[in-house]
């Protein structure tokens, strides 16, 4: 799903919060509640994955030519 890729962590968290609040309000029809729940669990997993997914190289330095190059701080 291309739509899925566009969802940032921030948006996913916001949607999750919204769904949790709607469910907690309680006056959601059951079928709707179930789909909310499934969507919520999916968003929860998505957020969790995003948080756990750490690339090895996360620090770069911008070279004069505009290219990024891995950067490691040299301890003095």
């Amino acid at each position: 799903m291309s739509e899925e890729k566009e969802l940032t962590f921030e948006e996913a968290m916001a949607q999750l919060e919204e769904i949790v609040e709607k469910l907690e309000e309680g006056d959601v029809p059951l079928e709707k509640a179930i789909s909310f729940f499934q969507e919520g669990m999916r968003l929860s997993k998505l957020c969790h994955d995003k948080l756990q997914h750490v690339e090895k190289q996360m620090e770069y330095i911008l070279r004069e030519d505009g290219e990024l190059e891995p950067f490691a701080f040299q301890e003095e």
Partner: protein, 447 residues
Amino acid sequence: MADIKYVTVTALTKYIKRKFEVDPHLQDLWIKGEISNFTYHTRGHMYFTLKDENARIQAVMFAGYNRYLAFRPENGMKVLVRGEISVYEPSGNYQVYVKEMQPEGIGNLYLAYEQLKKRLEEEGLFSPEHKKPIPKFPRYVGVVTSPTGAAIRDIMTTIRRRYPIAKVILLPTLVQGEQAAPSIVRSIEKANELGYLDVLIVGRGGGSIEELWAFNEESVARAIFASNVPIISAVGHETDFTIADFVADLRAPTPTGAAELAVPHLTELLERLAQRKVRLIRAMKEKITYESERLVRVQKSYAFRYPKKLYEQKEQQLDMLMERLERQTMRLIEQKRERWQQYDLHLQKHHPAEKLKKAAEKQQVLTKSLEREMQTIFKQKQLLFTSLLSKLQVLSPLKIMERGYSLVYDEKQQLVKSVHQLGPGDSIKVRLQDGYLDCQVWGIEEV
């Protein structure tokens, strides 16, 4: 001497003091001079004389102001002080009440700093409505600082610890010396050109005011103001406020502080996420429990327990309705029947048999009279006929021939009425009473 006007010393001194206080030039000014007679009173106030080659002025700096001094004033030290001029009434001295003091040199920088700060503030570069919000969960954190200073190390360490999923992009920058300001400006511009940075940390570790000076340059201030990427400033330590700090969207006291402001804490986020999941599941369970209870409640309801009750009443109603229907139908039929009978009676009265009988009678009468009439007419005609016949008999040519008359016919059987119809020699037939004579004409004689 009684009519000579005089004033008291107190009144005069108050008058002179007021003169000082209403002069705007004396309310807030910077003075350059050298410290002498410096006394640091045990109660915290500083008393000294400011002098140059030609003049001197008494000065006092109260504890409330001097506690922020970054240096210890000494006799012979050249300084810049900022303050107001007023009169100390008990001794009749005018003196400067110092609010700020800087060693000369640095003091000049401070002057420039104050002036620029005032100008940019008036221009609105510091105003809150220009502050951009810092995104909560940045993916790309740009850092404008030196690749070798402590600042980048602190920032990287902090981000790695708190939020290792963010990418850090270092824009190597000179942050000290004459080339620092243009370098910072260029880096901020490059950071904006990258286009994907969520937040930018601009800063360096602590240092002396000269070392931090680039962050007080107008060009840097304007570059920060112009940046589309939200900027967190991180210059020096807690007490140093640079112009960059005022212009930045958010100010952090240190690079570590900036990194903390730039990214959330992953552990906290995971906890929040876990909480939401728990809330999600709890809410769903509650929903199911609630709905189940509703179902049970409904199942226990009167209608479900005594379903007969639901239709017994209806049965009764149905019976009553049926009864009414029947009664009404019967009544209706009865009504119709009555009306039919009325019509029938009426109809009987006008039955055609009666008419037929009458018509037959009339027909018989008519027939008889017709016969009678016919008979009469017939007799009349017969009588007429008989009389006519006798008249005819009277007129018959035979009767005339009985008296000696005859008829002549030519060869074509045409009755000859004139002698001109015939010539001599023509054959003729003569009809007599009792037969014919075949003759020939011998001669013609007209009479």
